[in-house]
């Protein structure tokens, strides 16, 4: 019996139910997986990057240029690949932009680290070097490359938005949408209770309406709801309305489960039915008596009550999504009412829970009726109406617009930008290379590789633009090297703002050309990419367990 274990011992494998890969092999596999992920989105980087069409198993199509969106829709099996996908998503939620570059940089860092390890440098040394390099790079960006927005003025904001948009589907109308993004975001500026200005991106309401060209997209101050008034008999617009936002049904009241209505007299059946209807009627009367002229309900309103409201001169919108209802309540200063109950145990409408606005009106937008709230008293809202030829395009437009909003928000909140077009990457590369030579330890090699890994961004940018990457990047490096070696006041130090002009295949001053990115996005990108690369590098063993067996269903064979 003991013999059965001998065969396994010869395998010298672990006694586990699954497979195990360790050492260099697993590292190479992980790096390969990361590489594969990066290759998928590599070509969508930059202003001349191309889009991907993704078709899922039921045939739904998504067309996107956004790294996070593409990766989210990919079915990634490999666990190391999954880390990169998560990385892109994290960048998306935290920064909102730079999702493609973060993955490309992480994959490049991994590839170079693997080469180093193959030439017998211990992974721990590489990791230490990467950490040091990342720290230095972030410090360098913050100290040397970042520019205060205050100095650059308002145009800088538009430039930032434009830089983000330029790589997306909206690129052709860059300045149009960039200005739209900036003014929409400025419209929703709200101070938090500490008095600090906040720019809630989700207060910018984006409506996608099919038809017309992207150029005809528009924005206005106010909140638009993609729902019509619930009854055609209602007025088209109410000026200076009193707004109630309710979260209960205005329908015939039904008793709860567990309450049984038992009657032995046909008369009382009628009475009960009447009472069911009356409870809601009373509520409507109460609302009207309180002077409410606009009701936004997250639930339904029966036709009979809609009619009552219409006759009372009020307008109502039903089935408002809860998220929208909450924002309307916040904007108009109303409270989202779950019930009309008051503290005496009765029902009444508390005037304090009602909000005000300047105008509520129903307007027609292409094929849809849209209710618009203008001039809400508490918080401003902005609505952007995107027009496009088809759903795919509209979806991608929304994502692009969202990215640019995020970028502008970051700049507004942190107040610093860096030149784009690969300028930062090349500058950091030059800086780190000279920094590496000051260290007389093994980490030097890792730092140099880290520096070179960053060059993958300008290289990829020029490759995507079908330009000679070798020549352009070499030239750019020369510029930046000159800038960093020059004295602070010499004219050469201005060269540090130089980046790629991908349309003409030349170099230019990115700041003057208005190619700007939020500084925070770059720093975060470096930090997260390094973190993810280290995370994967530390792995020297991968154990895959067999999938759990589903317990057999005893009824399956019946």
């Amino acid at each position: 019996m003991a013999a059965i274990f001998d065969t396994n011992r010869q395998d010298s494998a672990l006694f586990i139910g699954g497979s195990r890969v360790s050492g260099q092999e697993v590292r190479s596999q992980n790096v390969m997986a990361a590489q594969a992920i990066a290759n998928v989105i590599r070509t969508s980087l930059g202003p001349v990057g191309l889009d991907k069409m993704l078709v899922d198993d039921v045939g739904d199509v998504t067309i996107s240029n956004d790294g996070a969106t593409i990766l989210q829709l990919l079915e990634v099996e490999h666990p190391a690949g999954k880390i990169l996908v998560k990385l892109a998503q994290q960048q998306d939620t935290e920064v909102g932009d730079g999702t493609t570059s973060v993955v490309i940089v992480a994959a490049e860092l991994l590839r170079r680290a693997n080469e180093l390890i193959k030439s017998h440098i211990h992974p721990a040394t590489v990791i230490a070097g990467y950490r040091l390099a990342c720290k230095e790079a972030c410090r360098f960006i913050a100290d040397q490359m970042a520019l205060k927005v205050d100095k650059l003025g308002q145009e800088a904001l538009v430039s930032v938005a434009m830089t983000t948009i330029s790589s997306k589907i909206l690129g052709a109308y860059g300045s149009y949408f960039a200005e739209m993004a900036v003014s929409a975001l400025s419209a929703v500026k709200t101070p938090d209770f500490r008095g600090k200005a906040r720019y809630p991106v989700n207060a910018v309401n984006v409506l996608k309406v099919k038809g017309a060209s992207a150029r005809e997209s528009s924005h206005f101050a106010g909140y638009a709801l993609r729902r019509p008034f619930c009854s055609a008999g209602m007025r088209r617009s109410v000026s200076g309305p009193k707004v109630a936002v309710v979260d209960f049904d205005i329908t015939k009241t039904r008793m709860k489960l567990g309450v049984q209505i038992v009657i032995d007299d046909p008369e009382s059946l009628e009475a009960i039915r009447k009472r069911e209807a009356d409870i809601a009627t009373e509520r409507v009367r109460m609302l009207l008596a309180a002077g409410v002229t606009a009701i936004f309900s997250t639930r339904g309103i029966d036709d009979a009550y809609a009619k009552m409201l219409a006759e009372g001169g009020a307008v109502a919108v039903t089935r408002v999504p809860k998220e929208d209802a909450r924002r309307i309540a916040k904007g108009t200063g109303a409270t989202l009412l779950a019930t009309l109950a008051n503290l005496d145990g009765d029902e009444s409408v508390d005037p304090a829970t009602l909000g005000t606005a300047e105008l509520v009106e129903q307007v027609r937008l292409s094929d849809d009726d849209v209710v618009v709230i203008r001039g809400a008293s508490e918080q401003r809202a902005a609505t952007v109406i995107l027009r496009g030829a088809n759903d795919y395009m509209l979806d991608e437009m929304e994502r692009s617009f969202h990215d640019s909003l995020c970028a502008v928000k970051r700049v507004l909140e942190s107040g610093a930008v860096v030149p784009g077009g690969g300028a930062v990457e090349v500058a950091v590369d030059i800086y780190l290379e000279s920094f590496a030579t000051t260290l007389a330890s093994r980490e030097q090699l890792a730092i140099a590789e880290f520096a070179n890994a960053l060059l993958t961004i300008p290289k990829q940018l020029s490759v995507n633009a079908a330009k000679d990457s070798v020549e352009l990047v070499a030239k750019l490096r020369a510029y930046h090297s000159a800038a960093q070696n020059a004295a602070a006041d010499s004219p050469r130090s201005a060269l540090k703002h130089y980046g790629l002009d991908l349309y003409d295949g030349k170099l230019r001053d990115s700041v003057k050309a208005g190619v700007l990115e939020p500084a925070m996005s770059k720093i975060k990108m470096l930090k997260s990419a390094t973190e993810a690369a280290i995370n994967i590098l530390r792995i020297d063993d991968m154990i895959k367990l067999l999938p759990e067996q589903q317990p057999e269903d005893p009824h399956a064979h019946m």
Binding site: D6, N8, I16, G258, V262, I279, G345, N535, I543, L546
Partner: protein, 541 residues
């Protein structure tokens, strides 16, 4: 790639056993076979996690049967997820878990040590020494080893924060969060010190240290919160407040929702007036409860989760919001004790016993948002109990989970110091010292005991050897040099991982609790003894 090695001892054994039934008693070499097979299996486990030992140890990535990915450096965690099948190998997994419970740290070393002891035992077995004698010999060697460790240990005073910080840093240095140890070590030390009350206490209940994990931000943003942090967020759907100053905190174990009749019972209505009464009754029922709560002065309400009824409904939330009471629901049953201790309130099981003396008070209860997630924080608590709350941040779930495990290990290290206030140095120094002194002892003895002592002494050198290997150093030259240094009386000489050389560990601040080392030796020796004493594996139903 290694082939999948699934084995099914039960089935294979069942088929083979009856045929060989008679042989079993005749075969003299069978017990030996069983032992060797057990040793091989256990060794495989030890080899599997060997590379994650020490500050330059690597991580393992495990894809579980449910396709979840776990990345870890912690021996106990790796082994727990590995689904080891061989019964003897399982013992090593349990060994690691035992060390986790006892000391919390050193879960990798204990398994590596056990593996090495088994290799030594295998050699002795082949020399023809009886397994029982090996077991006895190892046992007495372990007793001696523990004595030696006590002898070379350095007593520590809990007031000496520096020392505690250093030991926490040593524990953290081998983890993925190593570069954040300057942030995390003080958090760990302070939170344990906050929980330890009187200086005389000999144990710490780590459940009094709460770790709340939130994705977003980096590990740098991890902080020790003065006060309490809730896992849950405030309910604001009905417009309730999310910031209360001069808070009075009530913790209730009943629900603010209308009671439901039993399945079998029905409320029967036969008149329309009764409908109104039902609606009104519901309103009044909730209103009375909420009013009572308000009357007691409570303005922050924590509601325990219930599986039978909704904790709150929209009506009661509406009332709570109207009376400016902040509500937090879904408080788990096992959190109650912690929250009571932390906030100084007492759980209230019934609305009638909702009185002011059961409330806890704090200066501020506030829900704040940072890095994309919201947390509720209670600060300025009056007569707070000894608890600590840590909010952990990390870029993704993997990092966060691993960071939590690392924090746990570091907390355990400090707890070990509270339990047994002595330190030994790290970097393989104590192991070399023990090894050398055991060799001395071996020379003073005769017979199998001497051989066992010698074997044990050599086996324990696996720790410095593996450390050196994992740092990319040559194990032979490092270990021999260490022996030399120790023979010359430098009892704190250990492997300096950063410099790749040997130096005085005490000066390098690489220190660990004595308890971790002694418990590793004791536990691994006991496991080896047990494995030695097995001479047959039988499949049972």
């Amino acid at each position: 790639m290694a082939a999948p090695t699934t084995i099914a001892p039960a089935r294979a054994g069942g088929a083979a056993a009856p045929k060989r039934q008679n042989d079993t008693f005749n075969q003299k070499d069978k017990p030996m076979q069983v032992r060797l097979s057990n040793i091989a299996a256990a060794k495989a486990v030890a080899d599997a996690i060997r590379t994650s030992l020490g500050p330059r140890g690597m991580d393992k990535m495990i894809e579980t049967g449910k396709k979840e990915v776990v990345i870890s450096n912690d021996g106990a965690t790796i082994l727990k997820h590995m689904s080891v099948l061989h019964p003897a190998a399982r013992m090593l997994v349990d060994l690691s878990a035992a060390q986790d419970v006892e000391a919390g740290d050193g879960t990798t070393s204990v398994v590596v040590l056990a593996g090495s002891l088994l290799v030594a035992a295998e050699k002795l077995l082949k020399k023809g020494i009886h397994p029982t004698q090996i077991a006895e010999g190892f046992q007495s060697a372990a007793v001696e080893a523990v004595k030696i460790l006590h002898d070379i240990s350095i007593p520590v005073d809990l007031g000496d924060r520096e020392f505690l910080l250093k030991s926490a840093t040593t524990s953290l240095s081998s983890k993925v969060v190593a570069q954040y140890s300057s942030v995390l070590a003080p958090i760990v030390v302070d939170s344990v010190l906050r929980v330890v009350g009187a200086a005389s206490e000999s144990n710490v209940d780590l459940s009094d240290v709460r770790v709340v994990k939130r994705v977003g931000g980096t590990i740098d943003d991890t902080e020790l919160i003065p006060g309490v942090v809730l896992n849950q967020t405030a309910i604001t759907s009905a417009g309730g407040p999310s910031r209360i100053e001069k808070a009075k905190i009530g913790l209730i174990q009943f629900q603010l929702s209308p009671p439901k009749p039993d399945m079998d019972n029905q409320v029967v209505v036969n008149d329309y007036r009764q409908m109104d009464r039902i609606l009104k009754e519901e309103r009044n029922y909730l209103l009375n409860m909420v009013k009572k709560i308000k009357k007691a002065g409570c303005n922050v309400l924590l509601i325990q989760k219930s599986i039978l009824r909704d904790a709150v409904n929209s009506m009661s939330l509406h009332f709570l919001a109207k009376l400016k009471i902040m509500a937090v629901k879904e408080v788990e049953r096992d959190e109650i004790e912690f929250l009571c201790k932390a906030t100084g309130c007492r759980p209230i099981a019934d609305i009638d016993s909702f009185t002011e003396d059961k409330l806890g008070s704090a200066d501020l209860v506030e829900e704040s948002e940072s890095n994309g997630s919201r947390i509720v924080q209670i600060s300025g608590i009056k007569n707070a109990g000894r608890t600590a709350s840590i909010v952990m941040r990390g870029a993704n779930q993997y990092v966060l989970d691993e960071a939590e495990r690392s924090i746990h290990d570091a907390l355990c290290v400090i707890r070990c110091l509270v339990k047994k206030r002595a330190l030994v140095v790290g970097g393989g120094a104590p192991e070399i010292e023990v090894s050398q002194r055991l060799s001395e002892l071996a020379k003073a003895q005769t017979g199998f005991q001497s051989i066992c002592f010698q074997a044990f002494a050599e086996a324990i050198e696996v720790i410095p050897t593996t450390l050196a290997e994992n740092c990319g150093l040559s194990p032979i030259s490092i270990v021999t040099e260490l022996r030399n240094r120790h023979a010359n009386g430098e009892k704190h000489a250990g492997i300096n991982v950063r410099k790749g050389a040997i130096s005085d560990m005490l000066r390098e601040n690489v220190i660990q609790p004595l308890l971790v080392s002694t418990s590793a030796i004791e536990l691994s020796t006991e496991t080896v003894r047990m494995l030695m004493k097995i001479d047959d594996i039988l499949a049972s139903r």
